[in-house]
């Protein structure tokens, strides 16, 4: 039997970016908040210190900061009539774990989505006509506009001290920034990072081609920075150990570096770590969430934490799985196209071009997670799709993130994977190679979705989440188009060898691609097409709110953290200013 704990005002499941943002806003409003975190607490000063933090084997290859699949993983099938298999080790995407969540081990790319990403179906219908959207492309509007989110994007950028260059301030295009971005209320808090030599080669070539390169907005602080929460960030050291690692310089904005210091001083806030949530306690009759059940992973005991408000911020898989395990909302049925929970699971498709320069010295080990040069000319609907066989796009970038040698040692096509020739080519090209990346979006399709696996179980015997996913024809055509453009840039950079690496075949879970998974608890206008309304409030329980990229109706051609955080601020704003005064559905049907 579960031990029933003393009731609290709000309980939060998952203390990554969106959970920490919500915890901060609710405790600021005077609420008592309990945050449940599945993983351990983290102490950056001790856990991320030199020299131990520079250990590629431990943190990058063995994935010390990530979710442990032994406890819980997901299963995958490519087609509805396939039998799913478990992802036995994480590879293609890396879910986080512990206080800070994926915000601890992210790279820091902090892009806003395009205005047209936020009202996608309306935008595409207006520009190309209704008939242009394939019948099985189940995209929809967010029901929150870019303009509504703008102050919340800005707030997140200020929290993180984002280093970047604005391209559009109040409708005025700014030289050196991204001319395609939505209007911003102001400049970035920090100047761009120092670009690498490879970044500069990309910038020069893109400019020659008539494209519009700009420095990637990065939550790697280019200078010491004090954020509005009073947290002090250090200056980035370009160490090349950003993604998959903690930051010893405190220069990477994470929940730990930006919010936890203020949260730990907030009266009424309490975090419970090693607390594995298994259910949202749901009273179907009154249509209310009454709390969260969790297992203390250290003692094995089960607890019920009653609360007036329940927040799910357990990432795409956690949010969707908890809704399904708790019986809240109608599960999505991809054959019938009915139901909503698990609908519109999206990913990204990221073809790359590897470049080799016989006469350049690129020092690949110098880098930062968000250190990149980007063109947005082929993202979203920034280019005319009228005569193209696909919709959507993605940014194209050259990122100088790392040269960590267990994983980073590209060789030209045709090189064997071992032996004398492999050694020769590895030694020859290690310092002289760089990659152009296409951050291709993935638009929702009828089949790509999530449900509970009928066979495989987690460590407590509960069903794992099952993904049904494969790339669509639209994805592949879009990716080929981007790859062609990326190769063109590579040739304009005068690379000795230009090696395009298309994404072929069924989606694989082995090689890393992107941790930008979205969907499953999507937002929308009606309960028929969504799990939450525009305020991220559940249609089935007005005191249940769902945060993170699981609410995106489809993915975009960007890293999704800023959009997830902005929508969390947007939700917190509505919750504090409107909901608390009169707890009830904020969208009336």
């Amino acid at each position: 039997m579960a031990k029933v704990l003393k009731a609290t005002d709000a309980v939060i499941v998952g203390l990554g970016w969106t959970g920490a943002i919500m915890a901060r806003e609710l405790s600021r409003a005077g609420l008592d908040v309990v945050a449940l975190e599945r993983g351990p607490d983290r102490d950056p000063a001790a856990d991320f210190a030199l020299p131990a933090i520079r250990d590629e084997l431990r943190f990058s290859v063995r994935q010390e900061l990530m979710q442990d699949p032994k406890m819980e993983t997901v299963t995958l099938r490519h087609r509805l009539d396939d039998e799913a298999r478990p992802v036995r080790r994480f590879g293609s995407f890396l879910p986080g774990d512990g206080v800070g969540g994926m915000g601890t081990h992210w790279n820091g790319n902090t892009f806003r989505f395009l205005p047209s990403d936020h009202n996608l179906r309306t935008h595409l219908t207006e520009r190309y006509g209704r008939a242009r959207i394939p019948e099985d492309m189940t995209i929809q509007d967010w029901d929150v506009s870019y303009d509504e989110l703008e102050p919340h994007y800005a707030r997140f950028e200020a929290l993180c001290g984002v280093s970047g260059k604005a391209g559009n301030i109040g409708g005025r295009i700014q030289a050196g920034g991204n001319p395609f971005e939505g209007p911003r209320s102001g400049e970035y808090p920090n100047a761009p990072l120092v670009s690498s030599h490879a970044n500069e080669l990309f910038r020069r070539a893109a400019t020659e081609l008539g494209l519009h390169p700009f420095p990637a907005p990065a939550s790697n602080s280019s200078a010491p920075y004090r954020n509005p929460e009073g947290a002090q960030l250090g200056a980035c050291q370009y160490c090349g150990h950003c993604d998959r690692f903690g930051c010893e310089a405190n220069a990477k904005a994470t929940p730990l570096s930006t919010l936890v210091p203020a949260l730990s001083k907030a009266p009424g806030f309490r975090k419970v770590t090693n607390a594995y949530a298994t259910r949202v306690l749901y009273d179907a009759k009154s249509r209310r969430a009454t709390g969260v059940r969790y297992i203390d992973l250290r003692s094995g005991e089960t607890y019920d934490q009653p609360a007036e408000i329940v927040i799910l911020s357990a990432w795409v898989f956690g949010n969707t799985r908890l809704m399904l395990l708790s019986g809240i909302g109608q599960p999505y049925d991809p054959r019938a196209g009915t139901g909503v929970v698990g609908k519109n699971y999206c990913y990204q498709i990221q073809p790359t071009v590897q470049l080799f320069f016989k006469d350049e010295e690129l020092n690949p080990f110098m880098g930062a997670g968000g250190l990149g040069m980007v063109v947005d000319d082929f993202n979203g609907d920034n280019f005319d799709h009228a005569n193209l066989g696909f919709l959507g796009g993605g940014y194209i970038s050259l990122n100088s993130t790392n040269g960590r040698p267990i994983s980073f040692r590209p060789t030209p096509p045709g090189t064997p994977a071992w032996g004398a020739a492999w050694k020769r080519e590895t030694a020859k090209w290690y310092r002289k190679t760089a990659m152009v990346l296409c951050e291709g979006m993935n638009y929702a399709s009828r089949t790509n979705s999530m449900d509970l696996d009928p066979t495989y179980r987690d460590m407590f015997g509960q069903p794992l989440l099952r993904m049904t996913f494969n790339f669509t024809q639209n994805d592949r055509a879009m990716a080929d188009h981007l790859l062609g453009k990326a190769a063109e840039i590579g040739r304009a950079m005068n690379a000795t060898i230009v090696a395009p690496q298309p994404r072929k075949g069924d989606f694989n879970v082995v090689s890393y691609q992107s941790s930008h998974n979205t969907g499953g608890t999507i937002m929308g206008r009606t309960p028929a097409d969504s799990v939450v309304n525009r305020y991220l409030q559940s249609w089935d329980a007005h005191n249940l709110f769902v945060l993170g990229s699981s609410v995106f109706p489809q993915n975009a051609g960007y890293n999704p953290t800023a959009a997830a955080a902005a929508t969390a601020y947007w939700c917190a704003d509505a919750l504090v200013k409107t909901y608390l005064k009169s707890p009830s559905p904020m969208v009336q049907l």
């Binding site: 030199l50 020299p51 131990a52 520079r54 250990d55 590629e56 084997l57 290859v61 063995r62 994935q63 990530m66 442990d68 699949p69 032994k70 993983t73 995958l76 490519h78 298999r85 478990p86 992802v87 036995r88 080790r89 590879g91 120092v194 690498s196 030599h197 500069e200 200056a235 050291q237 370009y238 160490c239 090349g240 350049e360 010295e361 020092n363 080990f365 110098m366 880098g367 040269g403 040698p405 267990i406 040692r409 994977a417 071992w418 032996g419 004398a420 050694k423 020769r424 590895t426 030694a427 290690y430 310092r431 495989y456 179980r457 075949g505 069924d506 989606f507 694989n508 879970v509 082995v510």
Partner: protein
Amino acid sequence: MIDRRGFIASGSILALVSGEAAAAPAADAPPKGSPLAASDATAEPLYALTPNEAEFLTAIVDAFIPADDLSPSGSECGVVTFIDRQLAGAYGAGARLYQDGPFQPSNERPQFGSQSPLAPLAFIRLGIAELDTWATAQRGARVSQLSKPELEALLRDIEAGKVALPRIDARAFFAALLQLSMEGFFSDPIYGGNRGKASWRMIGYPGLPATYAKAIKDHRGRRYEAEPRSIADFL
């Protein structure tokens, strides 16, 4: 576990460029490297592998990473020692590996990665036994007794999916051997491989402390050279 010994790979000791590296916290002492005969490098205790298994892996890692003017061989660089220690520890026992059934064969659907029920130590052990049996029957000798060209031909055949073993996906076994070998060759020397930072010298990777705020500008387009340093050099 920490092996501070190193050898001088021929002609690959780079001049120490102090710069920011010297300004790193608690890292004033340059790495201590004493010349050592390569043959001495194999004299390490085994924690998990049998002598026969170590012999098998020595042949494999030396085919993957042959000795030449770029570096000593894989085994001379401690790669077998590295694999032995990894397999003896949490990784070998199946840490961070979902091992619940049912289990389906790996070979026809490589997109899912290995679906073997075995943790890495048992997986590698079974693979060694089965491949040795196969090689004896089909090629006339155990793997470690094959000539260099014979072994290379065998490895190419496994890589190409031309070898089928009874209870293990030969390609998944090959992939695991190659991955472990590369981890051992390129990881920080604290794990027993990459002795003398041989691979880091080979490619020009400086290791720690990796603080390049100044160098990223100063060395734009110019090779950054520094005596590579390990985590152990900062203790």
